[in-house]
Amino acid sequence: MGVLDYIWLGIIAVFQGPEAFSVFGIAVSITVMMVLSGFLFGIVVGATPGLAGPFAMAISLPILISIFGYSPDALLPVMGFLIGIMKGATIGGAVPAILFNTPGTPDAFMTTLDGYPMAQRGQDKKALRVAHLSSASGDTFSDIVLFVCAPFLAILVEAYLDLPEKTGLLILSLSFIAAVIGGSPGKGLISIGLGLLAVYVGTGEDFYPRLTMGADELSRGFPITTAVLGVLIIGAVFKGLDETWRESRDGKPAPVVSDAGDQKLRWPDIKRLLPHISRSALIGTGIGALPGVGSTLAATLGYSTARARYAKTKDTGAAAFGEGAPEGIAATEAANSAVSGANLIPVLSLGIPGNAAAVFLILATETIGGFNPGPSVFRFSADVVNPELVVAFGLFTCMTIANVFNWTIGGVFMRSMGFMIRIPKQLLLPSVLLLTLTAIYVQETRLEAIWFALGFGVLGYFMRVLTISPLPFVIAFILGKSLEETARQAYSATGNDPFFLFNNPIALAFILMSVAVIFFTGRNAKKAAP
């Protein structure tokens, strides 16, 4: 089995999987239909203020698992749907940002700066076309980088990193995530610590389940769905309700936009936008490849770099950045969309999730089984087929299909979603809460799970109020068990050397980098204070 054979098997697994229906005798596979459904659903969710891709992924997962079951055959349809949501929500978020000055997703905030002024001038459809072109370009570029880099990185990790180094790498990833998410390394570390503490409750190797205080309910530990959905989704719902309650936005009329001027995107427009799209796609991909560094930072960097460049080259009379420049939308959308594909590089090659969407992809693989994201996925075994590698290339195929849908029907569908702003958040969010609790129960079938999720939701709410990012908590919860297991194995493999992290040069380098990243970001935070 060569590389090309594996790629071909991955493509076949998607197109020749179970049939959904046939058109003129040609079978359309269920996986392709799932990618399409997820993509359209993602656009709808992204275009709805108060919701985001992770919400849709969270509530879809138990339904998808009920439909497809726990067999490895379920992986591609389920993951295809989730990937579709991830991509659809990315472009959908630009719709309310441009039309109503309300970002549908947090990373679309910078899009409002030029998108809304364009819409106010009657150039709303043109602004949406710019957003779609830039988003689809950034996303596609990022995916190509993922397809090329993830296997190489995984092979390097497998070749050069042994158990002590892998332990060091996990610690470095957690430290890096703590340092960069949320802009406060102190709060990031607290979030990581709480996540690790939660995952260690009721687990371990002893007969007595640790940290349970003798409570039977805790002896099996917290199910991963309760922690992830509780902190990420229920916490966000509580915070969203709080904001809506404070804003008292009832009855605020949605602004009416009337078209003016040419709404089409012509070739000279595209030529003018291309340098900004390319630069931001590179920035977004570079940032997305680092675990934990989110699309908001990519959008901000892409926008500020483009603004500096645009100030030197702009035509007289052209709108400046912040006053409705299409280049501003292009720079932002290309950067934040380029994060989504690249963010899967650490997921697939190292098993380390970098953002909320990646968390749900890992949650899906953990729930279904048969695919463990990490360096072992990319083992190109010649004599025996590595089924995980076939699934990996199947996922790449799903991403490519989603990109094709994005380029062909994404723009039209996205431009028709403006009405979603009219759904009041105070009606939507309580329904999402009940839906999330029901989804958790359906998967776990015990009321304890709902109580755990509710508790994690309250924790997530307070973390958000105190600007402690919940994402490091969730990532630590996911990585905690593997950190402990790797450390135990490394300790045994090094002949019970308690200093295994310091006696190995690469592991030591990772530990020093962990300390350095926390120290320098902490020092920068101090400098920023008066």
Partner: protein, 188 residues
Amino acid sequence: MPAPPRSNLYIGLLCIALAVLLIFIWIPLDTDSGIVEKVRGRFAIGDALAPTIAAGFILFGGVLLLVFERNAPIQSSLTRSHLSFMGKLFAVTVVGLMVMRFAGPVAAESANLFRAEPIEYRLLRATAGWKHIGFSLGGILMVAGIIAIVERGFSRRGLLTAVLAVLAMIAVFDLPFEDLLLPPNGDV
């Protein structure tokens, strides 16, 4: 001049206290093995090590907040209105869940008052109608109650939304799948 924000200071101190409590009291008392233990003549990592590292992260985070971020210009603080709003949401959700848990069995017991042959909810939890009682009543109460909190009063629109949300969830989770159980039918 307004007082400088102090929430990072309080969070830092709270986390240091929590970490000390974890490292010196909770973890040693609530794990069977220590940080490292001797098994069959060989040293192995005990169950206490990983939680101690978790506590170390919390401790280090608290110290960083005190040392580097104590005077950060923007610090969000937890106010009484946050606590009261969260308290109300939590209370309505808990009441909704309690109704969800007990409405079905209570309905079955109530029906027994008028029946010669008693029925048991456990045996009816797969029967259409009966199996929806708890989920419907609890779900409607939860959704309509939360909408009422946010809108500062009950409205017919809120109640209608709750009814539609519950019906939609029954349609999504219950009607197409025989093996899925709506809450609380896996517990009763």
